[in-house]
Symmetry: C3
Subunit: 271 residues, 3 copies
């Protein structure tokens, strides 16, 4: 079996495990996407919980199979809770997935992302090209929270960043790029309509969390999660009249995709 | 008229009153479901308002016909506002509906729910089986915010809890169970797809609030609200391709259900 | 070209600019509508960002083409951030659009709206009739956040308010009314189903922000934005089975409307 076929089979296997074991994914995420993220996780078969109070997060994360930290609408109190939850997750071996929304756009966001990388044991960083460039110290073409850089422009920097921090990095875009500094995997699934709906990036991070809850290899977890997620986007776009109907069909597709469809539809390329 | 027919007729009557009088329902609820809850209330004909600031809630609740307190994403400041709003509502005779999301999962949630029960005059508690078991002091199979217990397993405890606290309890699940410690009512409406969408439980609590705003008998208000709500779920599921299209059709159904459909479709069993 | 035709052509022109330049719209808005607002802006072609931390808003607004302040779920910390962001936007010449959700309903909201009008240079206030009456010092029939007053009842007061404050005012309702105290424009686009979905008013304010980012005349920006927005509502309502399918079709229509459809469908009447 060549590596591509292997990873597509692994995507189906991971989805099967998510649906069977319903991993609890603890999210400390932004206000904009909380509802959509919870519905994405439920549609995929995972069990989402949102909890952000500093005096609750350690207890909550101790039941979780993954912790998703997303800095999309943060303030100092939320950063403190993220650090606390992240440290507890690190101590317990619960995978921590970081979504550095808007890193590079403001100092608060860039520093919060860097602090989380420094103080907790992040398993996977999932961002767009501009965010990853910003974390890598490059001058990104940041504009709010939308990327103005291409995945290719950020790929080399991502490899360096992954090596330097020892943290696997996943950049999403037209073709997703996943690396742990040594291995490199590309995922060709997805559809442009995903960029017309808020929270599709944040939802991708959450699904990476769910898959990380059932797959101990972060590169494989991220790549298979993004392939399944992008494949659902392709199915959803087929027949959608715009972003509204796309969102609806996307949740339907995440729920309805069969393991056979995942096995044959995921386009994951190693190397 | 037997009790079942009576309660189905009462469901239609309550819905008619909600649509005619558009009761203002003040919600202090969690970030995840605020949008969906507001849309559910609007679709049913009620008028939702969300307000959580400690220096605003007393004024806001004084215009309201019901106060819905939901602890799904709480912290200390929100608990303080809930207590303040709940006390004011109690003093004014505005029914207080409590949704103890995740009670039993963390100490913060269990204690917040118990504090609200102790310090305000709650009219109805609406939760899943695990949450009600946790409030009743039993060891619930809590896992985040999803119930791992059956309604039957919690029914006996719910009767005891309702008696002990003097607060009617509604447990939702495959068959909903409502009791004030003396009377027992079961509602057979609903559909499994409701469990695949976040906030359907929270939305049920909000609709119980709207119905409590027009029906002074809490057991009747809760049972008729849950029957109407579950019936909308049944209509929505018919033709839905998954959770996304279900959500859309659910809001449509809450809005479109006729009083005649409610009168004939509600399956409420007393005793 | 008569004024009506001119403004409809301007609506198409503004939409074209939004789609081509993707203006960054910085929103400090309420929890209930954050997701829907972001999706509305994306569907129209703008680039939304939500950021509320006091130590971030000045930096974020400096990249923005418009700042939308919405007091739908506020507390003291959020008011402080709104004031800070509004002052910075005023200094930079970034248009500030104010949505006084629930002004008149509680003292906190009325005073917050008045404070924002006093301390920042607001370009346009967009509210419902009751909110505008309340800001104008009249006794509005406020009930939560839904208007109980007609646009006509508030029109005269709006002209006086616009003159007194030097701030253009847009009242939305069956027929929208826009004035800067001298000019008066009415927009007849829209559909009653818009009142059955939470956040359609807030979304209108956000679209006014996007248009204000590409059109320096606030009356023209508000009128053309509301006409385009209402036209999308008309298209969405055609075939909708209720509020759920309306929401979906509304996002689709905002995205799909052609410039030709906007030019011919906008019903904007000057004078």
């Amino acid at each position: 079996m060549n590596p591509e076929t292997h990873l597509a089979a692994q995507a189906a296997e991971n989805l099967k495990k998510v649906r069977e074991t319903r991993p609890l994914v603890h999210n400390i995420t932004n206000y904009v996407v909380m509802n959509f993220t919870a519905n994405i996780l439920l549609a995929a078969g995972a069990s989402p919980v949102m909890a952000h109070a500093e005096n609750e997060v350690e207890e909550m994360v101790s039941f979780a199979r993954a912790l998703v930290l997303n800095i999309g609408t943060l303030d100092d109190a939320w950063i403190a809770s993220m650090v606390k939850a992240g440290k507890k997750a690190s101590a317990l071996g619960v995978p921590v997935i970081l979504d550095p929304v808007g890193a590079g756009a403001t100092k608060l966001r860039t520093e919060a992302a860097k602090r989380l990388l420094a103080e907790t044991r992040v398993s996977i960083v999932r961002g767009n090209a501009s965010e990853i460039l910003a974390l890598g110290g490059a001058a990104a073409k940041i504009r709010g929270v939308d990327s103005a850089d291409s995945v290719d422009a950020a790929a080399e920097r991502a490899v360096g960043l992954a090596r330097e921090l020892g943290v696997p990095v996943a950049i999403t875009g037209a073709v997703d790029f996943i690396t742990d500094g040594k291995r490199v995997v590309r995922v060709a699934n997805g559809h442009p309509l995903m960029g017309c709906v808020t929270g599709t990036g944040c939802g991708a991070t959450a699904i990476v969390g769910a898959f990380a809850g059932v797959d101990a290899d972060p590169v494989s977890a991220a790549a298979t999660a993004l392939a399944y997620y992008g494949l659902a986007g392709e199915h959803a776009a087929d027949g959608a009249a715009g972003p509204g109907s796309f969102m609806v069909r996307f949740l339907d597709a995440l729920h309805a995709l069969t393991l056979e469809e995942v096995r044959h539809g995921c386009r994951i390329q190693a190397g």
